[in-house]
Amino acid sequence: MKELKQTNKIFIAGIVFFSLILLGVLTAKKPVLPYKITAKEALKLVGDTSKMVSIKNIPSNAQWIDVRNQYEFAKGHIEKATNVYAADLFEPFSIRYFEQLKKEGKKVILYGQDINEASDPWLILSQLGFDNIYYLKEGFDGYQNKKNLAHFRNPEQPALDYARFFVEARKKMMGEGK
């Protein structure tokens, strides 16, 4: 009889132990939207020009999304664009909207005032499994000056030959000296 009691105690202790572990696993804080790719895979997206869209050849069946705040949006925006302020990206209504666009098979093009404003939201969304998202190379500034795009410098292109600048500056000064 004594043995039986001890067995029961062990049994109960076992159940309590495992239910505690189960409780811990179940209540662990899970992110609303987990990363779908690892940081190493995400690194391949950095500077990926195939995800940049130019104003010169806009794909059809695309949905423009303005990531600037609503005041900037109200001042002027690309036609047919919808406004999802970058800070509201993780609000349930934004996520539902992006999921719906993905389901419809639409290309989503993010834009901000310049390319940098859209780049962070793009890189974050791309890591969450939204692979239909692109961003505008010229930004809204470029859209407004559509006619002056001849002088547009591609992002990450050096604005001048840095090394030659020094050589020429030196030559110029030596010339003045003589």
Binding site: Y35, A39, L123, I124, L160
Partner: protein
């Protein structure tokens, strides 16, 4: 009676084994590749705070005053790096920042690491990836090398009606420019040695790299009791 004792013993063994298995599970939790990644929504907020930008004037000031806590990382390829780079900067092409050989430069708490590329697009995206891995003390040169050239190397002279502070800023930038290799007029040094500039235009000063040793950061454990 003997049978009961046997059952009890079996249960002891089973419980013991289960706990050992669970303990092993905890060990593996730390080994997951991205177990310590910052949540995506927190990452977005961090990037929108813009606290990680450092502008050209501040960086130039820090380089000239020889701030020992500064580690400048050039994220461009080695060809562009060889042509021109900021003095004492280290070359880690952006595709390699998570490689075993280089990750130590970012996963540390010893230096303020300033990332730069030609603009700040690549540097910012690299910053985002590194920050998502919960690395701290990372900064981005705002506007990149292009902006650095426009402000420090060839500053615009303010118009005559500009306030005095603008002229002070201009003079500071011009003086800084001489440090970064712009030939200084009326300097005796110009005649010989080429003011630190090689014939191909690279900076002599930038050829002399300081040795950088990184202390390994204490690994933070996740999970556990």
């Amino acid at each position: 009676m003997k049978k009961r004792v046997l059952i009890t013993r079996k249960r002891y063994i089973f419980l013991g084994l289960a706990m050992v298995v669970a303990a092993f599970g905890l060990l593996f939790m730390d080994g997951l590749p991205d177990a310590t990644r910052l949540r995506a929504d927190q990452l977005l907020l961090k990037s929108m705070e813009k606290g990680h930008y450092i502008n050209s004037d501040d960086l130039a000031d820090k380089i000239i005053s020889g701030d020992p806590s500064l580690l400048i990382v050039d994220l461009r390829d080695s060809v562009q790096y060889a042509k021109y780079s900021l003095p004492n900067s280290l070359n880690v092409p952006y595709g390699k920042i998570l490689d075993k050989d280089y990750i130590g430069y970012f996963d540390q708490d010893q230096f303020k690491v300033v990332l730069y590329s030609n603009d700040h697009l690549i540097a910012e995206q690299a910053w985002l990836i590194l920050s998502s891995k919960n690395f701290s003390d990372l900064y981005v040169l705002k506007g990149g090398l292009n902006e650095f050239f426009n402000t420090i190397i060839r500053p615009q002279e303010p118009v005559a009606t500009a306030p005095e502070s603008e002229f002070n800023k201009y003079n500071t930038r011009k003086a800084a420019g001489y440090y970064f290799g712009v030939p200084m007029p009326r300097s005796v040094k110009n005649g010989q040695g080429g003011n630190g500039i090689t014939e191909t235009g690279g900076l002599l000063a930038s050829k002399k790299r300081k040795a950088i040793t990184i202390r390994k950061k204490k690994k933070k454990k996740v999970g556990g009791c």
